[in-house]
Symmetry: C2
Subunit: 266 residues, 2 copies
Protein backbone atom coordinates (compact mmCIF):
# COMPACT_ATOMS: atom_id res chain seq x y z
CA UNK A 1 0.00 0.00 0.00
CA UNK A 2 1.28 3.43 -0.83
CA UNK A 3 -0.49 5.34 1.97
CA UNK A 4 1.57 4.97 5.15
CA UNK A 5 -0.70 3.71 7.96
CA UNK A 6 -1.09 6.31 10.71
CA UNK A 7 -0.71 4.98 14.26
CA UNK A 8 -3.69 3.83 16.29
CA UNK A 9 -5.00 6.23 18.95
CA UNK A 10 -5.03 3.71 21.81
CA UNK A 11 -1.31 3.79 22.61
CA UNK A 12 -1.73 1.22 25.39
CA UNK A 13 -3.06 -1.34 22.91
CA UNK A 14 -1.27 -4.73 23.01
CA UNK A 15 1.11 -5.51 20.12
CA UNK A 16 -0.86 -5.00 16.93
CA UNK A 17 -0.65 -4.39 13.22
CA UNK A 18 -2.45 -1.79 11.13
CA UNK A 19 -3.35 -3.35 7.82
CA UNK A 20 -4.82 -1.78 4.69
CA UNK A 21 -7.91 -3.34 3.10
CA UNK A 22 -9.84 -2.49 -0.06
CA UNK A 23 -6.68 -0.95 -1.55
CA UNK A 24 -6.29 1.44 1.37
CA UNK A 25 -9.92 2.50 1.69
CA UNK A 26 -9.97 1.25 5.26
CA UNK A 27 -7.52 0.09 7.90
CA UNK A 28 -7.75 -2.64 10.46
CA UNK A 29 -6.07 -2.49 13.87
CA UNK A 30 -5.69 -6.10 14.99
CA UNK A 31 -3.59 -8.17 17.38
CA UNK A 32 -0.17 -8.98 15.98
CA UNK A 33 -0.02 -12.55 17.18
CA UNK A 34 -3.11 -13.22 19.23
CA UNK A 35 -6.69 -13.78 18.23
CA UNK A 36 -8.22 -14.46 14.85
CA UNK A 37 -6.56 -12.29 12.22
CA UNK A 38 -8.88 -11.07 9.51
CA UNK A 39 -8.47 -11.87 5.86
CA UNK A 40 -10.25 -13.14 2.81
CA UNK A 41 -13.09 -14.76 4.83
CA UNK A 42 -14.20 -11.39 6.18
CA UNK A 43 -13.97 -9.77 2.74
CA UNK A 44 -15.99 -12.55 1.06
CA UNK A 45 -18.63 -12.31 3.77
CA UNK A 46 -18.85 -8.52 3.34
CA UNK A 47 -19.20 -8.99 -0.41
CA UNK A 48 -22.61 -10.64 0.07
CA UNK A 49 -24.21 -7.26 0.84
CA UNK A 50 -25.66 -5.44 -2.20
CA UNK A 51 -23.67 -2.29 -3.03
CA UNK A 52 -26.85 -0.19 -2.89
CA UNK A 53 -27.75 -1.47 0.59
CA UNK A 54 -28.74 1.52 2.71
CA UNK A 55 -30.07 0.05 5.96
CA UNK A 56 -28.62 -0.96 9.30
CA UNK A 57 -26.36 -4.02 9.33
CA UNK A 58 -24.79 -5.92 12.21
CA UNK A 59 -21.61 -7.97 12.01
CA UNK A 60 -21.99 -10.77 14.60
CA UNK A 61 -18.64 -11.81 16.06
CA UNK A 62 -17.01 -8.79 14.45
CA UNK A 63 -13.51 -9.25 15.87
CA UNK A 64 -11.42 -6.20 14.96
CA UNK A 65 -14.12 -5.14 12.48
CA UNK A 66 -12.91 -6.31 9.06
CA UNK A 67 -16.20 -7.55 7.58
CA UNK A 68 -18.28 -4.69 8.97
CA UNK A 69 -15.82 -2.05 7.77
CA UNK A 70 -15.63 -3.72 4.37
CA UNK A 71 -19.41 -3.31 4.10
CA UNK A 72 -19.20 0.34 5.17
CA UNK A 73 -16.41 0.90 2.65
CA UNK A 74 -18.28 -0.47 -0.40
CA UNK A 75 -21.89 0.29 0.60
CA UNK A 76 -21.79 4.05 0.99
CA UNK A 77 -25.17 4.33 2.73
CA UNK A 78 -24.87 1.37 5.13
CA UNK A 79 -24.92 1.78 8.89
CA UNK A 80 -22.80 -0.88 10.60
CA UNK A 81 -22.88 -2.28 14.12
CA UNK A 82 -19.85 -4.37 15.13
CA UNK A 83 -21.00 -6.87 17.77
CA UNK A 84 -18.17 -8.60 19.60
CA UNK A 85 -18.28 -10.79 22.71
CA UNK A 86 -14.77 -10.36 24.08
CA UNK A 87 -13.69 -6.98 25.48
CA UNK A 88 -10.16 -7.79 24.27
CA UNK A 89 -11.22 -7.95 20.62
CA UNK A 90 -13.74 -5.11 21.01
CA UNK A 91 -10.82 -2.92 22.08
CA UNK A 92 -9.21 -3.58 18.70
CA UNK A 93 -12.53 -2.85 16.97
CA UNK A 94 -12.67 0.50 18.77
CA UNK A 95 -9.07 1.19 17.80
CA UNK A 96 -10.04 0.39 14.21
CA UNK A 97 -12.88 2.93 14.35
CA UNK A 98 -10.61 5.52 15.99
CA UNK A 99 -8.01 5.13 13.27
CA UNK A 100 -7.71 8.36 11.23
CA UNK A 101 -7.62 6.36 8.00
CA UNK A 102 -11.19 5.27 8.69
CA UNK A 103 -12.55 8.75 9.48
CA UNK A 104 -14.74 8.71 6.33
CA UNK A 105 -16.52 5.56 7.60
CA UNK A 106 -16.77 5.84 11.34
CA UNK A 107 -19.82 8.09 11.57
CA UNK A 108 -21.68 5.09 10.08
CA UNK A 109 -20.12 2.48 12.41
CA UNK A 110 -20.18 1.58 16.11
CA UNK A 111 -19.04 -1.21 18.42
CA UNK A 112 -21.20 -3.15 20.87
CA UNK A 113 -19.77 -5.63 23.37
CA UNK A 114 -22.47 -8.28 23.61
CA UNK A 115 -23.09 -12.02 23.33
CA UNK A 116 -25.17 -12.68 20.21
CA UNK A 117 -25.92 -16.14 21.63
CA UNK A 118 -28.29 -14.64 24.20
CA UNK A 119 -32.04 -14.95 23.76
CA UNK A 120 -35.24 -13.18 24.75
CA UNK A 121 -35.10 -10.40 27.30
CA UNK A 122 -31.39 -10.89 28.05
CA UNK A 123 -30.58 -10.30 24.39
CA UNK A 124 -32.64 -7.11 24.24
CA UNK A 125 -31.04 -5.89 27.48
CA UNK A 126 -27.61 -6.46 25.95
CA UNK A 127 -28.49 -3.90 23.28
CA UNK A 128 -29.60 -6.40 20.64
CA UNK A 129 -33.18 -5.30 20.00
CA UNK A 130 -35.68 -7.34 18.03
CA UNK A 131 -36.45 -6.20 14.47
CA UNK A 132 -33.82 -3.48 14.71
CA UNK A 133 -31.71 -4.51 11.70
CA UNK A 134 -31.94 -4.80 7.92
CA UNK A 135 -29.08 -7.26 7.54
CA UNK A 136 -26.92 -9.53 9.69
CA UNK A 137 -23.60 -10.98 8.57
CA UNK A 138 -21.66 -13.54 10.56
CA UNK A 139 -18.38 -15.42 10.40
CA UNK A 140 -18.85 -17.65 13.45
CA UNK A 141 -15.87 -19.21 15.25
CA UNK A 142 -15.45 -22.38 13.36
CA UNK A 143 -13.09 -25.17 14.17
CA UNK A 144 -15.03 -28.03 15.75
CA UNK A 145 -14.04 -28.79 19.37
CA UNK A 146 -12.13 -31.95 18.46
CA UNK A 147 -9.62 -29.97 16.41
CA UNK A 148 -6.22 -29.56 18.01
CA UNK A 149 -6.60 -26.77 20.56
CA UNK A 150 -4.20 -23.86 20.38
CA UNK A 151 -2.38 -22.52 23.43
CA UNK A 152 -3.74 -19.05 22.85
CA UNK A 153 -6.99 -18.41 24.69
CA UNK A 154 -8.17 -15.62 22.38
CA UNK A 155 -7.59 -17.72 19.30
CA UNK A 156 -9.45 -20.60 20.91
CA UNK A 157 -12.43 -18.38 21.60
CA UNK A 158 -12.54 -17.37 17.95
CA UNK A 159 -12.02 -20.85 16.54
CA UNK A 160 -13.90 -23.30 18.71
CA UNK A 161 -17.49 -23.63 17.61
CA UNK A 162 -19.55 -24.73 20.56
CA UNK A 163 -22.35 -27.16 19.88
CA UNK A 164 -25.47 -25.24 19.08
CA UNK A 165 -23.71 -21.95 18.42
CA UNK A 166 -25.14 -21.84 14.89
CA UNK A 167 -28.61 -22.35 16.31
CA UNK A 168 -28.26 -19.57 18.88
CA UNK A 169 -26.54 -17.10 16.56
CA UNK A 170 -29.01 -17.65 13.72
CA UNK A 171 -31.95 -17.51 16.14
CA UNK A 172 -30.71 -14.09 17.27
CA UNK A 173 -30.22 -12.96 13.67
CA UNK A 174 -33.81 -14.00 12.88
CA UNK A 175 -35.12 -12.09 15.87
CA UNK A 176 -33.17 -8.94 15.06
CA UNK A 177 -33.66 -8.76 11.28
CA UNK A 178 -36.87 -7.21 9.97
CA UNK A 179 -39.05 -9.18 7.55
CA UNK A 180 -37.43 -9.27 4.06
CA UNK A 181 -34.14 -8.26 5.65
CA UNK A 182 -30.93 -10.03 4.76
CA UNK A 183 -28.69 -12.62 6.35
CA UNK A 184 -25.29 -13.93 5.31
CA UNK A 185 -22.81 -16.38 6.77
CA UNK A 186 -19.43 -17.79 5.82
CA UNK A 187 -18.51 -21.18 7.20
CA UNK A 188 -16.98 -24.53 6.34
CA UNK A 189 -18.70 -27.04 4.06
CA UNK A 190 -19.04 -29.59 6.88
CA UNK A 191 -21.19 -27.06 8.74
CA UNK A 192 -23.81 -26.95 5.98
CA UNK A 193 -26.33 -29.14 7.82
CA UNK A 194 -26.39 -27.34 11.20
CA UNK A 195 -26.53 -23.99 9.39
CA UNK A 196 -29.37 -24.93 7.03
CA UNK A 197 -31.20 -26.59 9.92
CA UNK A 198 -30.95 -23.40 11.99
CA UNK A 199 -32.07 -21.27 9.02
CA UNK A 200 -35.08 -23.51 8.33
CA UNK A 201 -38.33 -21.59 8.85
CA UNK A 202 -36.43 -18.37 9.64
CA UNK A 203 -34.60 -17.44 6.45
CA UNK A 204 -35.51 -18.53 2.93
CA UNK A 205 -34.42 -17.86 -0.64
CA UNK A 206 -30.98 -19.11 0.37
CA UNK A 207 -28.23 -18.57 -2.17
CA UNK A 208 -25.22 -20.82 -1.57
CA UNK A 209 -21.82 -20.09 -3.09
CA UNK A 210 -19.17 -22.78 -2.63
CA UNK A 211 -15.65 -21.36 -2.40
CA UNK A 212 -12.95 -23.51 -3.97
CA UNK A 213 -9.20 -22.79 -3.69
CA UNK A 214 -8.84 -24.09 -7.25
CA UNK A 215 -11.24 -25.22 -9.94
CA UNK A 216 -10.47 -28.90 -9.34
CA UNK A 217 -10.32 -28.92 -5.50
CA UNK A 218 -13.09 -29.44 -2.95
CA UNK A 219 -14.70 -26.36 -1.44
CA UNK A 220 -13.01 -24.87 1.64
CA UNK A 221 -15.82 -22.46 2.50
CA UNK A 222 -19.50 -21.97 1.86
CA UNK A 223 -21.11 -18.56 1.72
CA UNK A 224 -24.86 -18.43 2.21
CA UNK A 225 -27.12 -15.41 1.79
CA UNK A 226 -30.82 -15.55 2.60
CA UNK A 227 -33.93 -13.46 3.18
CA UNK A 228 -35.88 -13.21 6.44
CA UNK A 229 -39.33 -14.82 6.27
CA UNK A 230 -38.99 -15.76 2.60
CA UNK A 231 -40.31 -19.12 1.49
CA UNK A 232 -38.50 -19.15 -1.84
CA UNK A 233 -36.40 -22.25 -2.51
CA UNK A 234 -32.67 -22.61 -2.04
CA UNK A 235 -30.38 -21.85 -4.98
CA UNK A 236 -26.93 -23.34 -5.47
CA UNK A 237 -24.89 -20.69 -7.28
CA UNK A 238 -21.80 -21.15 -9.45
CA UNK A 239 -18.74 -21.49 -7.22
CA UNK A 240 -16.20 -18.82 -6.40
CA UNK A 241 -12.76 -20.11 -7.41
CA UNK A 242 -9.99 -18.24 -5.59
CA UNK A 243 -6.90 -19.17 -7.59
CA UNK A 244 -6.00 -19.85 -11.20
CA UNK A 245 -4.01 -22.99 -11.98
CA UNK A 246 -0.83 -20.84 -11.88
CA UNK A 247 -1.59 -19.94 -8.21
CA UNK A 248 -2.41 -16.28 -8.89
CA UNK A 249 -5.67 -14.92 -7.50
CA UNK A 250 -8.58 -15.16 -9.91
CA UNK A 251 -9.98 -11.88 -11.23
CA UNK A 252 -13.20 -12.45 -9.29
CA UNK A 253 -11.32 -13.07 -6.03
CA UNK A 254 -9.30 -9.89 -6.64
CA UNK A 255 -12.46 -7.88 -7.29
CA UNK A 256 -14.04 -9.14 -4.08
CA UNK A 257 -10.86 -8.70 -2.06
CA UNK A 258 -10.46 -5.12 -3.21
CA UNK A 259 -14.10 -4.17 -2.64
CA UNK A 260 -14.61 -3.49 -6.34
CA UNK A 261 -17.51 -5.89 -6.70
CA UNK A 262 -20.22 -7.67 -4.77
CA UNK A 263 -20.34 -11.47 -4.63
CA UNK A 264 -23.82 -11.73 -6.16
CA UNK A 265 -23.33 -8.84 -8.57
CA UNK A 266 -26.01 -6.70 -6.89
CA UNK B 1 -26.51 -45.49 -33.07
CA UNK B 2 -25.29 -47.89 -35.68
CA UNK B 3 -26.70 -51.08 -34.13
CA UNK B 4 -30.37 -51.34 -35.11
CA UNK B 5 -32.43 -51.87 -31.96
CA UNK B 6 -34.09 -55.30 -31.95
CA UNK B 7 -37.79 -55.31 -30.95
CA UNK B 8 -38.87 -55.86 -27.37
CA UNK B 9 -40.15 -59.34 -26.46
CA UNK B 10 -43.38 -58.17 -24.79
CA UNK B 11 -45.38 -57.53 -27.95
CA UNK B 12 -48.44 -56.42 -25.93
CA UNK B 13 -46.43 -53.58 -24.37
CA UNK B 14 -48.05 -50.12 -24.66
CA UNK B 15 -46.51 -47.69 -27.15
CA UNK B 16 -42.81 -47.52 -26.37
CA UNK B 17 -39.41 -46.64 -27.66
CA UNK B 18 -36.19 -48.65 -27.53
CA UNK B 19 -33.31 -46.29 -26.92
CA UNK B 20 -29.59 -46.92 -26.94
CA UNK B 21 -27.49 -45.78 -23.95
CA UNK B 22 -23.73 -45.91 -23.32
CA UNK B 23 -23.10 -45.86 -27.09
CA UNK B 24 -25.22 -48.93 -27.63
CA UNK B 25 -23.95 -51.00 -24.72
CA UNK B 26 -27.48 -51.24 -23.34
CA UNK B 27 -31.02 -50.51 -24.47
CA UNK B 28 -33.96 -49.10 -22.63
CA UNK B 29 -37.57 -50.04 -23.37
CA UNK B 30 -39.67 -47.14 -22.08
CA UNK B 31 -43.10 -45.62 -22.63
CA UNK B 32 -43.28 -43.42 -25.71
CA UNK B 33 -45.36 -40.64 -24.20
CA UNK B 34 -46.27 -41.66 -20.68
CA UNK B 35 -44.27 -41.74 -17.50
CA UNK B 36 -40.89 -40.33 -16.68
CA UNK B 37 -38.53 -40.87 -19.60
CA UNK B 38 -34.97 -41.59 -18.64
CA UNK B 39 -32.06 -39.43 -19.60
CA UNK B 40 -29.04 -37.65 -18.24
CA UNK B 41 -30.28 -37.76 -14.61
CA UNK B 42 -30.20 -41.56 -14.58
CA UNK B 43 -26.76 -41.64 -16.20
CA UNK B 44 -25.29 -39.10 -13.76
CA UNK B 45 -26.72 -41.07 -10.84
CA UNK B 46 -25.24 -44.33 -12.17
CA UNK B 47 -21.89 -42.59 -12.58
CA UNK B 48 -21.56 -42.26 -8.79
CA UNK B 49 -20.77 -45.97 -8.46
CA UNK B 50 -17.06 -46.84 -8.56
CA UNK B 51 -16.16 -48.78 -11.74
CA UNK B 52 -14.61 -51.57 -9.66
CA UNK B 53 -17.76 -51.98 -7.53
CA UNK B 54 -18.50 -55.69 -7.27
CA UNK B 55 -21.36 -56.00 -4.78
CA UNK B 56 -25.14 -55.92 -4.89
CA UNK B 57 -26.77 -52.61 -5.75
CA UNK B 58 -30.43 -51.57 -5.74
CA UNK B 59 -31.91 -48.80 -7.87
CA UNK B 60 -34.85 -47.39 -5.83
CA UNK B 61 -37.61 -46.09 -8.09
CA UNK B 62 -35.93 -47.71 -11.07
CA UNK B 63 -38.56 -46.86 -13.70
CA UNK B 64 -37.67 -48.65 -16.93
CA UNK B 65 -34.21 -49.42 -15.51
CA UNK B 66 -31.89 -46.77 -16.95
CA UNK B 67 -29.72 -46.02 -13.90
CA UNK B 68 -29.46 -49.64 -12.78
CA UNK B 69 -28.57 -50.87 -16.26
CA UNK B 70 -26.02 -48.06 -16.63
CA UNK B 71 -24.33 -49.37 -13.46
CA UNK B 72 -24.40 -52.94 -14.76
CA UNK B 73 -22.97 -51.74 -18.08
CA UNK B 74 -19.95 -49.89 -16.62
CA UNK B 75 -19.36 -51.94 -13.44
CA UNK B 76 -18.73 -55.40 -14.87
CA UNK B 77 -19.02 -57.21 -11.53
CA UNK B 78 -22.08 -55.41 -10.11
CA UNK B 79 -25.33 -57.18 -9.34
CA UNK B 80 -28.31 -54.89 -9.82
CA UNK B 81 -31.83 -54.98 -8.38
CA UNK B 82 -34.36 -52.67 -10.05
CA UNK B 83 -37.00 -51.77 -7.45
CA UNK B 84 -40.10 -50.13 -8.90
CA UNK B 85 -43.42 -49.37 -7.22
CA UNK B 86 -45.76 -49.28 -10.21
CA UNK B 87 -46.51 -52.50 -12.12
CA UNK B 88 -46.87 -50.36 -15.25
CA UNK B 89 -43.28 -49.15 -15.11
CA UNK B 90 -41.98 -52.50 -13.83
CA UNK B 91 -43.39 -54.03 -17.01
CA UNK B 92 -41.10 -51.75 -19.01
CA UNK B 93 -38.18 -52.66 -16.74
CA UNK B 94 -38.86 -56.35 -17.45
CA UNK B 95 -39.07 -55.60 -21.17
CA UNK B 96 -35.72 -53.82 -20.85
CA UNK B 97 -34.16 -56.90 -19.23
CA UNK B 98 -35.75 -59.18 -21.85
CA UNK B 99 -34.32 -57.12 -24.68
CA UNK B 100 -31.74 -59.13 -26.64
CA UNK B 101 -29.41 -56.13 -26.74
CA UNK B 102 -29.06 -56.41 -22.96
CA UNK B 103 -28.35 -60.17 -22.89
CA UNK B 104 -24.78 -59.55 -21.66
CA UNK B 105 -26.11 -57.72 -18.58
CA UNK B 106 -29.31 -59.45 -17.57
CA UNK B 107 -27.82 -62.37 -15.65
CA UNK B 108 -26.65 -59.66 -13.21
CA UNK B 109 -29.99 -57.79 -13.06
CA UNK B 110 -33.51 -58.38 -11.79
CA UNK B 111 -36.75 -56.47 -11.20
CA UNK B 112 -38.71 -56.26 -7.94
CA UNK B 113 -42.11 -54.61 -7.69
CA UNK B 114 -42.10 -53.10 -4.21
CA UNK B 115 -42.62 -49.87 -2.31
CA UNK B 116 -39.28 -48.69 -0.93
CA UNK B 117 -41.21 -46.36 1.39
CA UNK B 118 -42.28 -49.30 3.55
CA UNK B 119 -40.64 -49.91 6.92
CA UNK B 120 -39.91 -52.72 9.34
CA UNK B 121 -41.52 -56.09 8.76
CA UNK B 122 -43.62 -54.92 5.82
CA UNK B 123 -40.47 -53.85 4.00
CA UNK B 124 -38.75 -57.19 4.59
CA UNK B 125 -41.89 -59.05 3.47
CA UNK B 126 -41.90 -57.01 0.26
CA UNK B 127 -38.51 -58.53 -0.56
CA UNK B 128 -36.42 -55.65 0.75
CA UNK B 129 -34.28 -57.37 3.38
CA UNK B 130 -32.17 -55.50 5.93
CA UNK B 131 -28.41 -55.41 5.33
CA UNK B 132 -28.81 -57.17 1.99
CA UNK B 133 -27.14 -54.55 -0.21
CA UNK B 134 -23.75 -52.94 -0.79
CA UNK B 135 -25.08 -49.82 -2.51
CA UNK B 136 -28.38 -48.02 -3.06
CA UNK B 137 -28.92 -45.40 -5.75
CA UNK B 138 -32.07 -43.35 -6.04
CA UNK B 139 -33.59 -40.71 -8.30
CA UNK B 140 -36.76 -40.01 -6.32
CA UNK B 141 -39.84 -38.50 -7.98
CA UNK B 142 -39.14 -34.86 -7.59
CA UNK B 143 -41.46 -32.05 -8.44
CA UNK B 144 -42.91 -30.65 -5.23
CA UNK B 145 -46.72 -31.03 -4.91
CA UNK B 146 -47.41 -27.35 -5.64
CA UNK B 147 -45.95 -27.65 -9.12
CA UNK B 148 -48.51 -27.65 -11.92
CA UNK B 149 -49.88 -31.19 -12.05
CA UNK B 150 -49.79 -32.99 -15.38
CA UNK B 151 -52.81 -34.80 -16.80
CA UNK B 152 -50.86 -38.03 -17.04
CA UNK B 153 -51.14 -40.18 -13.93
CA UNK B 154 -47.94 -42.11 -14.54
CA UNK B 155 -45.97 -38.93 -15.00
CA UNK B 156 -47.50 -37.51 -11.85
CA UNK B 157 -46.50 -40.56 -9.86
CA UNK B 158 -42.91 -40.14 -11.03
CA UNK B 159 -42.76 -36.39 -10.48
CA UNK B 160 -44.68 -35.57 -7.34
CA UNK B 161 -42.53 -35.90 -4.27
CA UNK B 162 -44.75 -36.60 -1.29
CA UNK B 163 -43.81 -34.95 1.96
CA UNK B 164 -41.52 -37.25 3.84
CA UNK B 165 -40.66 -39.43 0.87
CA UNK B 166 -36.96 -38.58 1.25
CA UNK B 167 -37.15 -39.63 4.89
CA UNK B 168 -38.83 -42.96 4.14
CA UNK B 169 -36.70 -43.80 1.09
CA UNK B 170 -33.44 -42.93 2.83
CA UNK B 171 -34.54 -44.76 5.98
CA UNK B 172 -35.06 -47.87 3.86
CA UNK B 173 -31.70 -47.39 2.14
CA UNK B 174 -30.01 -47.16 5.55
CA UNK B 175 -31.71 -50.35 6.71
CA UNK B 176 -30.83 -52.30 3.59
CA UNK B 177 -27.22 -51.16 3.05
CA UNK B 178 -24.49 -52.94 5.02
CA UNK B 179 -22.07 -50.88 7.15
CA UNK B 180 -19.54 -49.04 4.91
CA UNK B 181 -21.87 -49.62 1.95
CA UNK B 182 -22.68 -46.82 -0.46
CA UNK B 183 -25.59 -44.51 -1.11
CA UNK B 184 -26.20 -42.03 -3.90
CA UNK B 185 -29.04 -39.72 -4.83
CA UNK B 186 -29.75 -37.19 -7.56
CA UNK B 187 -32.24 -34.46 -6.76
CA UNK B 188 -32.91 -30.76 -7.07
CA UNK B 189 -30.95 -28.16 -5.12
CA UNK B 190 -34.04 -27.05 -3.20
CA UNK B 191 -34.26 -30.57 -1.78
CA UNK B 192 -30.84 -30.35 -0.14
CA UNK B 193 -32.19 -29.78 3.38
CA UNK B 194 -34.71 -32.67 3.56
CA UNK B 195 -32.14 -35.00 1.98
CA UNK B 196 -29.27 -34.06 4.33
CA UNK B 197 -31.67 -34.18 7.28
CA UNK B 198 -32.75 -37.71 6.33
CA UNK B 199 -29.13 -38.78 5.82
CA UNK B 200 -28.03 -37.37 9.20
CA UNK B 201 -26.84 -40.16 11.52
CA UNK B 202 -27.36 -42.79 8.78
CA UNK B 203 -24.89 -41.91 6.05
CA UNK B 204 -21.72 -39.87 6.43
CA UNK B 205 -18.71 -38.83 4.36
CA UNK B 206 -21.16 -37.15 1.99
CA UNK B 207 -19.71 -35.91 -1.29
CA UNK B 208 -21.92 -33.33 -2.98
CA UNK B 209 -21.55 -32.48 -6.66
CA UNK B 210 -23.63 -29.53 -7.90
CA UNK B 211 -24.69 -29.92 -11.54
CA UNK B 212 -24.82 -26.67 -13.52
CA UNK B 213 -26.19 -26.41 -17.07
CA UNK B 214 -23.48 -23.82 -17.76
CA UNK B 215 -20.54 -22.47 -15.81
CA UNK B 216 -22.34 -19.22 -14.97
CA UNK B 217 -25.83 -20.59 -14.20
CA UNK B 218 -27.30 -21.86 -10.93
CA UNK B 219 -27.25 -25.59 -10.27
CA UNK B 220 -30.19 -27.61 -11.61
CA UNK B 221 -29.32 -30.83 -9.80
CA UNK B 222 -27.32 -32.04 -6.86
CA UNK B 223 -25.70 -35.44 -6.74
CA UNK B 224 -24.78 -36.78 -3.31
CA UNK B 225 -22.79 -39.91 -2.53
CA UNK B 226 -22.26 -41.12 1.03
CA UNK B 227 -21.12 -44.04 3.16
CA UNK B 228 -23.29 -46.01 5.58
CA UNK B 229 -22.35 -45.46 9.24
CA UNK B 230 -19.44 -43.16 8.41
CA UNK B 231 -18.91 -40.12 10.60
CA UNK B 232 -16.57 -38.33 8.21
CA UNK B 233 -17.54 -34.76 7.34
CA UNK B 234 -19.36 -33.59 4.25
CA UNK B 235 -17.32 -32.54 1.21
CA UNK B 236 -18.49 -30.08 -1.44
CA UNK B 237 -16.88 -31.20 -4.69
CA UNK B 238 -16.14 -29.14 -7.78
CA UNK B 239 -19.31 -28.83 -9.87
CA UNK B 240 -20.22 -30.81 -12.96
CA UNK B 241 -20.88 -28.35 -15.78
CA UNK B 242 -22.96 -29.94 -18.54
CA UNK B 243 -22.51 -27.51 -21.41
CA UNK B 244 -19.77 -25.32 -22.82
CA UNK B 245 -20.60 -21.71 -23.62
CA UNK B 246 -21.24 -22.78 -27.23
CA UNK B 247 -24.01 -25.16 -26.03
CA UNK B 248 -22.13 -28.36 -26.82
CA UNK B 249 -21.88 -30.97 -24.09
CA UNK B 250 -18.74 -30.65 -21.99
CA UNK B 251 -16.18 -33.44 -22.28
CA UNK B 252 -16.95 -34.55 -18.73
CA UNK B 253 -20.70 -34.72 -19.41
CA UNK B 254 -20.01 -36.74 -22.56
CA UNK B 255 -17.78 -39.15 -20.65
CA UNK B 256 -20.45 -39.67 -18.00
CA UNK B 257 -23.26 -39.93 -20.53
CA UNK B 258 -21.39 -42.56 -22.51
CA UNK B 259 -20.39 -44.63 -19.47
CA UNK B 260 -16.69 -43.99 -20.14
CA UNK B 261 -16.01 -42.51 -16.74
CA UNK B 262 -17.27 -42.40 -13.19
CA UNK B 263 -18.36 -39.13 -11.60
CA UNK B 264 -15.85 -39.28 -8.75
CA UNK B 265 -13.08 -40.80 -10.85
CA UNK B 266 -13.06 -44.07 -8.89
Amino acid sequence: MTIPPPPAEDTELPPHTVDAFHRGDFWLVQPRNDGHRAGMDALMLAATVPTAFSGRLADFGAGAGAAGLAVASRCKAAGVLLVELTPEMARFANATLAHPGNAHLTRRASVLVADVGLSGKARAEAGLADASLDFVIMNPPFNPPHHRPTPDALKRQAHVMEDGLFESWIRSAAAMVKPRGGFAIIARPEQLVPILTAMDGRFGKAEIVPVHPREDAAAIRIIIRAVRASRAPLVLCPPLVLHEQNDSFSQRAQDISSGRSALFGD
